[in-house]
Structure formats: C-alpha cells, structure tokens
Symmetry: C2
Subunit: 282 residues, 2 copies
C-alpha cells in the first residue's frame, strides 16, 4: 500500500517534470498529434467584426476570445495573437491580450505574432516582453536588422522564434524576391538564420499564398516548424499548402475565416464547425 | 477698442490654427530651429541602469524619465521612445510609457521607436496604436513586408514614418547590404519607399556608424528627415555624421550617453550638460 503510494507519487512527479520541461517545439508536436490538426487560429479580434452582444465595451473582445478558445481548443495546435489588434486600444487592449493568453490551455502553443526586431539590447527586451511578461511560447520576428537582432530571442532555449521569410501579402514581392547572387532575399534569410539555432528553436513564416515556393523552402528546411498564414480570407489553397509542407511540423493559420464564421449568436458553434472542417481536411 | 479686440482674437485664432495644423515634419523643423539642435534623446530606460533612488519600483522609471525630460527639453528636437523597454514590463510598463509620452512638451517630436510592420489590416492597427493610443508624432517601421505593410502608416498624413534603411548595428551587414542588380537592399528600400509618400511623410533610419553610406543616402534623399542612431554608446562619429547629413532635417539620436551620463544624484544635471555638449557640437 505504502509502496503503491510512493510509485504513484513518483509517476505523478515524472509526468509533471515531463510536462514542465517540454519545450515549445515539443509542445507543438504533442498538440498537433493530440488534436490531429495543424490548425492555428489567429485571435486577430476586431471589435467592429464581432457579434453585437460583445460590442458594448472593449471587454467584449475578451469575452469573445474566451468563447472562441473554449469552442476550438481541442481542434488546434496553436493560437496566434497578433499584438497589433490589442496595442491599438492602448493599456486596456494589452490587458485584454494578457487575459486572453492566460485563458489558452497550457498544452496549446501560444504565438506572439509581433514581428519584432531591433538592435541586440532592445531585442532582448522584446524577448522578455513576449516570453515573460505575456508568457508566450513563440514569437514572430523580422530579419531585416540581422543576426544581433534575432539572437536575443534564441537565448530562450525552450521557446520558438519564427523568422519572417516569404510572407503571404502582396508586398512580399517588393523586397523579399530581390535576387542577390542568384538567390532571392527570402532564401538567403532562411539559409543564414538556420545556422543561428536548432530546428527546435528557429521556425519560419511562409505564406500559404505561395505553395510552389513553400515546397522549395521545405527542401531547404525539412524539419523546422513553419507558421503558414494566408489560408481563408487571404485566399491561400489548403490542399496545395499541405502537399508542399510534406508532413513537416507546421501551424497553418486561419484567423478571420474561423473567428468570424458567423456574426450571430451561433458564432462559437460556427467557429467550431469551421475548425472541424479544417481539421478534417488536414 | 472693439476693433482692437477683434484683431487680437483673429490673431490668436490664426496662431492657434497654425499651431494646431502643424504636421510632424513642420514640428521637427520648428523644434530644431527653436532649440538650435538636431539632438534626439532616446528614453530607452533600463531599471538596472538608473540611479539607485529610482530603483524601488517600476514607477521610478517614470520619475527618472520626467526628470530627464525636464532637464533636456529645451536642448532637443525630439524624444525617441523605444517601446521594447516598456513592453518588457507588461501592462505596468506600457502605463509608464504612456505617462512618459504625456510629459513631453507638445512642440517636441515624439517618436515611437517600434519597428513595426505587418500585412495591411494589421499595420493599420499598429499605426492606430502609435499615433492614437500612444499619441506619438512619428514611428519607425521595418520594410521587409513591402508596400501594403507601410502604406497604412502613411494614411496618417500629418505623421512621420521612418523606414529602416541602413541600421547602426553589426547585423546590418547580414541582409541590408545584399546586392541586387548592382544595388544594395538598403538603397532599393530607400528608392522604392520614397515613391510611397512625400518628404514630409517618409523618413529613414540610417545609422551614424556608416557616415560614408549616410552621405550617399543623402544624395538620393536630400530632403527627407533622417533618424540617425548610433552616436555615443554605439560609437558613431558626430562630426562625420553632421558633415554627411549636409544640413538636412535630422534627428541625431543619443540614448545611453545622455540619460546615463551620471548614476549619482546629479544625473539630470549631467544629462543636461551632455545634451548641451551635443547642442554645441551641432
């Protein structure tokens, strides 16, 4: 009896330690397997677009987010929080962001979609903001300022840093495709930044709107996690994206298509249905 | 008598309108002339580096910032607020940021050094955050995501948007100097983004650590305002910078060299002395 109790305690302790020690990359793999999906829901919540019952005050955004999380957290591997949508409301918006993050179950990856990047000592503060103050597991960063702007994020060994590579928007053609020594800038960004950290630390943002390029990038980085926005409202093709991704670790992001699936009282139910649709297609 | 009163009122009204209508670019020019300087002080305040009397609580950062502003606001044309230094403390840090901005006299330019940039609808929210929620006159943005990531900032016609061009850090060599069609990326960034807005709307971040390149960039954009970091702690040469800038509109930024000029009780006095030194050299 006493021996059984000890075994139970050790077992619990080990499970606790395993859970405690899981890094962001492992969390992504585990959540993808558990929920059988690569879906990442973007909580890019806009007060003008949420159902009318939430529009009375800014806190309606928090209530809406909580309802979406409750309706979808068994159907996603991650949530992506675009900081801009909260920063636009100043302090009150940041409070809603923080409470939204706290509402996400711990085994689901929380991505600070913040696209930060600055000189070394400043990036260190951004890393602290995303990983400590807002307790996220991952962040998106811009590569423009180079190595010392990204390294401080990688000092958090258990976190994931997604470098902007080939983004989903039309503006990606302006600079990302400029060719130097026969290589597009986004390819140079991937090749260089891959050397700055392991596949468990460095991921890439690659838009679903470029499936052929995604395939090429998967050949360069077959195992690094990709955060793939552009499905849904931006018009990316899910089937082509899945094929190009070749079963590698990924978060395929849909924001507006899921969270605004209905503007009626059934918004959460419809968001869940849309997430199930994506899950079935993945 | 009555006529005089009317004249006085019209005069006051016109002055009020002129003041009210001044855009960020005009504010920069006016403050530079009034205070006879191009100095921009960076309020990149780190609690570990401020005098011990301020270290008791986070609010000490606000008290320190206020003292620095009071000691230097007649010696600068702008203050640069690096958002990272405040975001790292979460909500409380953002409150300090907001109150710091509110303490800056209205005729001095307030720059949100945030290096933002995202797809169109998201950049719109970042613009709202910087220009409305935090009431800044200007922002720094990253060009990596191209035109639709920068345009939303330019929709605020009376604000200034500083595009990262050639940054002051070592990492600027990683991607910014990649050459495409015989042109470095940072040159392509300048040439392309110049077409997206007027000289009163689009400025550039060019590090003081590259005076020769600064000279070349001044030839391409002789009238756009430059935000020039890298003097002081980062080792940029003030004299060479001034020569390369060729009397064009600029904010030459020093952060650590001014705000941490002394860690003693005389910190404000020493910060003022350092600002006067810079003013004299400019």
């Amino acid at each position: 009896m006493f021996f059984n109790l000890i075994c139970l305690s050790i077992n619990k302790f080990v499970k606790y330690k395993i859970k405690f020690k899981m890094n962001a990359f492992e969390k992504l793999i585990t959540a993808s397997e558990k929920n059988k999906t690569l879906l990442c829901v973007g909580l890019d919540t806009d007060i003008d677009k949420i159902p009318s019952q939430f529009k009375g005050s800014l806190n309606g955004i928090l209530d809406f987010n909580k309802a979406i999380i409750d309706a979808t957290s068994d159907l996603v591997n991650s949530y992506k929080l675009n900081f801009a949508f909260y920063e636009q409301y100043g302090i009150e918006g940041m409070e809603i962001l923080k409470k939204t993050i706290e509402h996400i179950p711990n085994h689901i990856l929380k991505i600070a979609d913040a696209k930060r990047g600055d000189i070394g000592n400043t990036s260190r503060s951004y890393a602290k903001a995303a990983f400590e103050a807002f307790a996220c597991d991952a962040i998106t960063v811009s590569p423009y300022m180079g190595e010392d702007s990204i390294k401080p994020f990688l000092e958090y060994k258990d976190k994931l840093t997604f470098v902007l590579c080939l983004t989903s928007n039309e503006g990606s053609n302006d600079f990302q495709r400029l060719s130097s020594n026969g290589k597009s800038l986004y390819i140079s960004v991937m090749e260089k930044t891959m050397k700055w950290g392991s596949k468990e630390q460095v991921g890439y943002v690659v838009g679903a709107t470029h499936p052929n390029d995604l395939k090429e990038l998967r050949e360069i980085a077959p195992e690094n996690p990709f955060l793939i926005p552009g499905i849904g409202a931006q018009g990316g093709d899910l089937e082509a994206t899945l094929k190009a991704n070749n079963n590698a670790p990924a978060m395929i992001n849909a924001s507006r298509a899921v969270i605004y699936a209905s503007s009626g009282l059934d918004f959460a139910e419809k968001a869940r249905q849309k997430a199930i649709e994506y899950q079935m297609s993945m």
